[in-house]
């Protein structure tokens, strides 16, 4: 099929997307790199001057910088852990015969369709609020002190909210993969006297590996830049305990209006994201080739 003619036609067909994405990447990136070398605060126009690498030095030495990297990774890994483990469990459950499977699936799918802002607002106010929230009421019902989630476990609370939104996504992909597992293979394994556990480890899990990789890849892309949930619930606090890199850049850009600093932060975030992406791609690449 790959004649010279079709190959050049293929190039022509790919060109628009590549060019658009290239422009989408390069134009803002070039401007950002340029701004990152300036002393440029939106609130003080006309004062722009070349600043060399000052903005980078300040961003890298920000007391919150390492915490932000840690939090970014914690959110990604925490949510991935919950959604993959929970997703496998839920997928196994939903794969069993039951009454009203369709409706259960509708219930489970719903959080994925919700705007992140709405999800965060609802969780923050109606569930996690230590005075008026439902959790506080439950705690009191059990004779416990209401737990102040957003102040005492801010990062965990955010991970929970984000995991709630992404659990359906993982569940559905894993469920589809599970359903493609040959019924006969399963029965054969059962005949051989394989227990449920060993069937899961030797048959189901390898079969799911591809789906799990996809879940990890797609979610990581979105989870690296979790923002709305943090902004709405904790604003990065208390202190900087729930500040991730995106939020740190946000604080530079929209609280200090320091375009230079925010640009430097943006560039650093892009570099770090690409390091993560590099490892991810190597891992994914292998599984997806197979």
């Amino acid at each position: 099929m790959a004649t010279l003619h079709t190959r050049s036609a293929a190039r022509l067909m790919i060109a628009p997307s590549v060019l658009l994405l290239l422009a989408w990447m390069i134009v803002p990136l070039a401007m950002t790199i340029y701004f990152s070398l300036l002393r440029y605060n939106l609130l003080m126009p006309g004062m722009e001057e070349f600043a060399g690498l000052t903005n980078y030095t300040y961003f890298l030495t920000d007391p919150a910088f390492f915490q932000a990297i840690f939090n970014t990774l914690a959110i990604v890994l925490g949510v991935l852990f919950i959604t993959v483990v929970g997703g496998i469990g839920l997928a196994l459950l939903l794969d069993q015969p039951m009454f009203g499977q369709g409706i259960v699936r509708i219930l489970v799918i719903a959080p994925f369709l919700i705007m992140p802002t709405v999800a965060a607002l609802v969780w923050k106010n109606m569930f996690m609020n230590p005075v008026n929230g439902l959790f506080a009421w439950l705690a009191k019902l059990l004779g416990l002190q209401p737990f102040d989630f957003l102040a005492n476990a801010p990062l965990l609370s955010i991970i929970l909210i984000v995991a709630w939104q992404w659990l359906p996504f993982a569940t559905l992909i894993l469920l589809t993969a599970l359903q493609s597992l040959d019924e006969e293979q399963k029965e054969a394994a059962q005949m051989d006297g394989a227990g449920a556990v060993s069937r899961f480890i030797y048959l189901v899990l390898p079969h799911l590996s591809r789906a799990i990789t996809v879940v990890i890849l797609i979610q990581t892309i979105f989870l690296l830049s979790v923002f709305a949930e943090i902004l709405v619930t904790t604003n990065g606090g208390p202190g900087t305990q729930s500040t991730n890199l995106t939020f740190l850049v946000y604080a530079q850009a929209l609280l200090q209006f320091d375009v230079g600093g925010a640009s430097a932060g943006g560039i650093i975030a892009v570099i770090l994201a690409n390091i993560v992406a590099f490892f991810l791609m190597r891992m994914i690449g292998k599984t997806l080739e197979a």
Binding site: M1, A10, R11, I14, P16, S17, V18, L20, L21, M25, P28, T32, F35, L90, L93, Q96, P97, F99, Q101, V104, R105, I106, L107, V108, I109, P111, L113, I114, M115, T117, V118, L121, V122, N125, F127, N132, T176, E187, A211, V214, V215, I218, I221, F222, S225, A228, T246, A253, L254, A262, S263, G265, G266, I267, A269, V270, N274, V276, A277, M281
Partner: protein
Amino acid sequence: MARNVSTGRKLITTVVAWTIGILIFFPILWTFLTSFKTEAQAIASPPVFLFFDWTTENYSEVQSRSDYLKHFMNSVVVSFGSTLLGLLIAIPSAWAMAFSPTKRTKDVLMWMLSTKMMPPVGVLVPMYLIFRNWGLLDTRTGLVIVLTLINLPIIIWMLYTYFKEIPGEILEAARMDGASLSKEIIYVLTPMAIPGIASTLLLNIILAWNEAFWTLNLSAAKAAPLTAFIASYSSPEGLFYAKLSAASTMAIAPILILGWFSQKQLVRGLTFGAVK
């Protein structure tokens, strides 16, 4: 069902699955119920579940403050517009990548996905300046362009994984039978590609509908979609749970209903080539 399962076991599975399903869904259900309460009932302790005087006053209050229909239409135009435009650009690319792949196809795909990793806040000011210069601030066109670019990588990847599943032999067989290129596309490829395109369409409408950073920052009044509509309820003065719930319900209901009705296509769309 090939397996023989006792009714007893089926019942237990049913109960467990329903309990978990309802727990996962509960925050949304609770929001929906709260939207029909008065503000005082909304924070009542112990909470009231179903037995309260249902009222729609929150909805009329929300509507009197900002025109829901305007925001709704903007959301529809922006999410459908960006997805359709994205598909238009992506279909040829994904097609070419799937049917005449080169050594670099995988790299190109991965690079495309990696453009999604740039934190949007970092480039807000440059984007704002570009939009201002081109007169795109607070226009639906501007939002459509941004959302198209944001979701393009995902669209291309999803389509690519679908198209790859279409066996090349079928094409060749059709060609042997003497089908012309146009017939080949209409009778052989399109029917096989349509489900994949449909699910890509759905997933990206959802993603575009819920995108809250660019839509909020690049719009003001005329083009503001439902994400901006919600932004005025986030932390108002006084009691607000019921009004927040009403506004939330209005903002999420359309996409929730769309998602539910097209559940089958959507689920298929979520595989991303994960199933082989």
